[in-house]
Amino acid sequence: MEVFEKVKSLISEQLDVDEEQLDMDTTFEDIDADSLDVVELVMALEEEFNLEISDEEVEKIKTVGDIVSYIENQIS
């Protein structure tokens, strides 16, 4: 669950939401994040996990879980 914890803390920091509000099924709509917010979040994730997320992948991101599983696949 380490990735989930890191992602949660980044989202909370970037988008100013309570970590408690976030689980794997939380959508970005739920936390009032628009697509520009998601782009910025992805930039922070890229830095944190030292990987690159293509624009095509970014478009597919709908939930916190989408991000976590993408990152887990990349770093495993």
């Binding site: 520009l36 782009v39 910025e40 930039m43």
Partner: protein
Amino acid sequence: MTLQGKVAIVTGGSRGIGKEIVLTLAQAGAAVVINYNRETAAAAEVLKKIEEIGGRGLLVQADVTVYAECEKMVKAALDHFGRIDILVNNAGVRRDNLLALMREEDWDLVIDTNLKGMFNCCKAILKPLLKQKSGGRIINISSIAGLTGNSGQANYAAAKGGVIAFTKSLAKELGKRAITVNAIAPGFIETEMTETLPDAVKERVLSHISLERYGKPEEIAEVVLFLAQGAAYITGAVISVDGGLAL
């Protein structure tokens, strides 16, 4: 020195309006990336002028029609100056002809340079700009032709009109991050680009200019400076600097 500590990229900065924009921003204290494509000697002259007034500049050769080259230019700017605050999309070409005689390659070159070049540079600068979280200024050089159309310039007018629509769209996308996006629509400015026009055309244009004279590159540069150094509540605007030509 109102732009002290700021970094600007000016595309097509070796000649004409671009050169004047580079010098004006440098004079105001900005570190300026002078982009050029083929005019190596002219670009070096511009850098020399900046250094003579104690300013900071960097020459970056890049063809704005190629995205990878724009990315490289942005990277060079970040490596050298550590940040980017201002992008002036000025690089442009003209290949005038009546549509009946216009070659497909003249359409493509003008659209690729004047319109796609702006897309390439904006896209390349966007993520670094967002990452800085300190707003920014994007200034796109359009043309009066993009507002009114011009016989013999269907390609150029289409590209410059596209610049205006792009500017307004990007202004809407980036407003919430305090990045302003504006366009300037120059009229007839005395540069190498307009020098080659036939005298008959020049005289006809002059007769329509309220201020009864052509514009100077400095008169575009001063509007760029105005937008670059303040103007925090202006975005999505198209500022005509044409002496009244479009009236």
